[in-house]
């Protein structure tokens, strides 16, 4: 008996603990591995300019993914972020050109995004329909609005300073990078440290229990969609400012890229579990694969293959940490 009891007081780092670590931090481990491989493979990779570029390029996607984390944790989906991005892009360009006011133009997307996000939230809560279908429908509507605003054409913005937001720098670093860092920090705190964040987890984990605990489930849902819309609008403002023109296909595919990054990071599609840092890691894991291919000049036709394999590796790594039954 004594010999077996000794096992219970085993050393601190057990294989079980190592596996649990693997499971929890699979995406970070892969991210680190990729960073190291790329740094060794190419001297152009680990330069300040390249790293800042990677972050800058992925700021719109990261913004959407960070806010989308709240949506997924709360047990919903937002498939309309790309459409909101499109509406935001054309609206920004249109407002800027109509008013000649750059600031007004760039403020339009976040404001519109917020409004459309609230619309989504109300559609989901009032119609009591799953957000997958509701936001799919609303994205069709938003997309059509974007087309109708422009007639499908492109609105060129020829105003000084319009590109400052997306392309300006402060001390060598893009504004966008600063915006992203601040946004991530705030959202991280909101999710982990506030009553609202707690409610998001509760609503996603068990909506009935949350309701019985006095959580305003519907209101929390609306707020989550509003946040997602706001982020999509911010992303649009940055994107439209960068290219100084608004067009209705802008942002196509962003919604799925964001969801993929969120889930790749390890946030549960079932709701109730997740973290902001995970989504950021997910975004940059995919971004690094793309950047690495470009820098190393590999055959782009196998990029998808490699990306798919790395995603499966990430989840396989995480799964290895889950003890069988």
């Amino acid at each position: 008996m004594t010999s077996t009891t000794a096992r219970t007081t085993a050393p601190r780092i057990t294989p079980a603990k190592a596996l649990a670590f693997l499971r929890d931090y699979a995406v970070l481990i892969l991210l680190a591995a990729l960073l190291i491989v790329l740094a060794i493979a190419s001297p152009s990779f680990f330069t300040f300019a390249n790293l800042v570029n990677i972050v800058n390029q992925n700021t719109p996607l990261a913004l959407i993914a960070v806010a989308g984390t709240f949506v997924i944790i709360s047990g919903s989906f937002d498939l309309s972020t790309a459409a909101i991005y499109a509406v935001g892009s054309v609206a920004a360009a249109w407002v800027a050109m109509e008013t000649g006011n750059v600031v007004l133009g760039l403020l339009a997307p976040p404001v519109i995004g917020l409004a459309l996000g609230v619309f989504n939230g109300l559609a989901v809560t009032v119609l009591r329909v799953h957000s997958f279908l509701a936001t799919l429908a609303s994205s069709l509507i938003f997309q059509a609005i974007a087309v109708l605003i422009t007639g499908g054409a492109l609105i060129q913005v020829s105003l000084d300073g319009f590109s400052e937001l997306g392309r300006g720098r402060i001390g060598g670093v893009f504004y966008t990078v600063v915006i992203l860092i601040v946004f991530v920090a705030i959202m991280w705190f909101v999710l982990k440290g506030t009553v609202f964040g707690r409610h998001v987890f509760a609503v996603g984990g068990n909506p009935d229990a949350a309701q019985l605990s006095g959580v305003r489930v519907d209101r929390t849902r609306v707020m989550v969609f509003a946040l997602s819309g706001l982020a999509a609008g911010m992303a649009a403002a940055i994107g439209v400012s960068r290219i100084a023109s608004g067009q209705p296909q802008a942002g196509a595919g962003l919604e799925f890229d964001a969801i993929a990054a969120i889930i790749l990071g390890g946030t549960s599609i079932y709701g109730g579990v997740g973290a902001v840092w995970r989504s950021v890691a997910g975004v940059f894991l995919i971004a690094l694969i793309g950047n690495g291919f470009d820098i190393l000049g590999f055959n782009p036709q196998i990029k998808d293959l490699v990306t798919g394999a790395i995603i499966l590796a990430a989840v396989g790594l995480a799964a290895a940490g889950i003890k069988r039954r």
Binding site: S44, T47, A49, N50, N53, N56, Q57, P60, L61, Q143, A146, V147, G151, G152, A153, L154, Q156, S158, S163, G166, R167, G239, R242, I243, A244, S245, Q247, P248, Q249, A250, A252, G253, G290, N291, F293, D294, I295, G297, N299, P300, Q301, K303
Partner: protein, 317 residues
């Protein structure tokens, strides 16, 4: 151009990035082939790196920005997915020269002269002009028909280039009293989708005279729809754009009435050539009319093709 200002590649060689809007697309593949052929032909040590824009404006913008920093590349050939969006990458940090194929880079889709600093040459034809040419031939065909029922089959009506094309079509066709534009439908550059939508249109307009399409894949779908509806496709004016081997054959066989030929291989070669000129300090043509790079007249009908019986087209799509 200011020549080999970068020059960080090997002493006498050049590293060139080829930014395709998608590497999974026949047209882009053909451009890449032309670039490669020219690179091999030129008397220099040229190494090409293909990058895949995945039909995504942001991805390609990232790639252009990445190429624009550091000293990896000496020059870029790009097939812009979204020319206006891509302009944001310019001027490039390292100032290397760029040549653009198919679409211009910059806010104005119809301006072929370089619009941003760093683009040294554009090998293209304005979308609107090409479309107008197609429409003018339709007008000729319709001259004896009243009414002449025309269906416009364009790519995507939320894409600025296609919107421009549709506007050009309408501008030309609406000026003619005998021409009745039945409807505009989207073909999405997909034969299956085009077959579906034309099949539907044929239900309400079985007596269509002209199906004016901007892309061969769509025309192919329209042909299938006509056949399935029991209409001989050669009795309808069918035209497309692209100049694929299949469509050239269709025009030769009289199944299609015309095709606006693109020369992606030749265009890629021309872009490489101009880039090389820029790198070596030779004279650069800032605009190469893509209609003139091929071996034959771009607006092909059975008659024009009969003059060049050996021509088969430059790509499959």
């Amino acid at each position: 151009g200011d020549g080999g200002s970068a020059g960080a590649g090997s002493e006498d060689g050049y590293e060139i990035a080829v930014l395709l809007s998608s590497s999974q697309n026949g047209y882009n593949q053909a451009v890449a082939k032309g670039v490669q052929e020219m690179a091999d032909e030129l008397d220099a040590d040229i190494n090409l790196t293909l990058l895949d824009g995945q039909f995504n404006a942001d991805t390609q913008l990232s790639q252009m920005e990445t190429a624009g920093v550091g000293d990896k590349y000496d020059g870029v050939v790009v097939v812009p997915f979204d020319g206006p969006a891509l302009a944001a990458a310019f001027p490039l940090g390292n100032g290397i020269p760029v040549t653009s194929v198919l679409n211009p880079i910059g806010p104005d889709l119809s301006e072929m002269e370089p619009q941003v600093e760093g683009v040294v040459s554009t090998v293209a034809v304005p979308a609107g002009e090409a479309a107008a040419k197609q429409a003018e031939d339709v007008v000729t065909y319709c001259a004896d028909l009243d009414p002449c029922k025309v269906v416009l089959l364009v790519g995507q009506l939320n894409a600025p280039l296609d919107v421009t094309r549709e506007e050009s079509y309408r501008e030309v066709l609406e000026a003619e009293d005998n021409i009745e534009i039945v409807t505009t439908v989207e073909g999405n550059y997909d034969p299956d989708q085009s077959a579906t939508t034309i099949t539907n249109v044929l239900q309400s307009t079985p007596d269509v005279n002209v199906i004016l399409s901007n892309a061969d894949q769509q025309t192919k779908g329209a042909q299938i729809a006509l056949e399935d509806a029991g209409i001989d496709p050669s009795t309808v004016y069918l035209t497309g754009g692209g100049g694929t081997t299949e469509s050239i054959q269709n025009v030769r066989d009289g199944i299609w009435k015309a095709d606006y030929i693109n020369f992606p291989v030749s265009m890629g070669a021309a872009a490489m050539e101009q880039l090389y000129n820029a790198l070596t300090g030779a004279d650069v043509e800032s605009y190469v009319n893509a209609d003139e790079v091929g071996e034959i007249e771009p607006y092909a009908t059975k008659e024009t093709l009969d003059e060049t019986p050996d021509y088969v087209g430059e790509w499959e799509g």
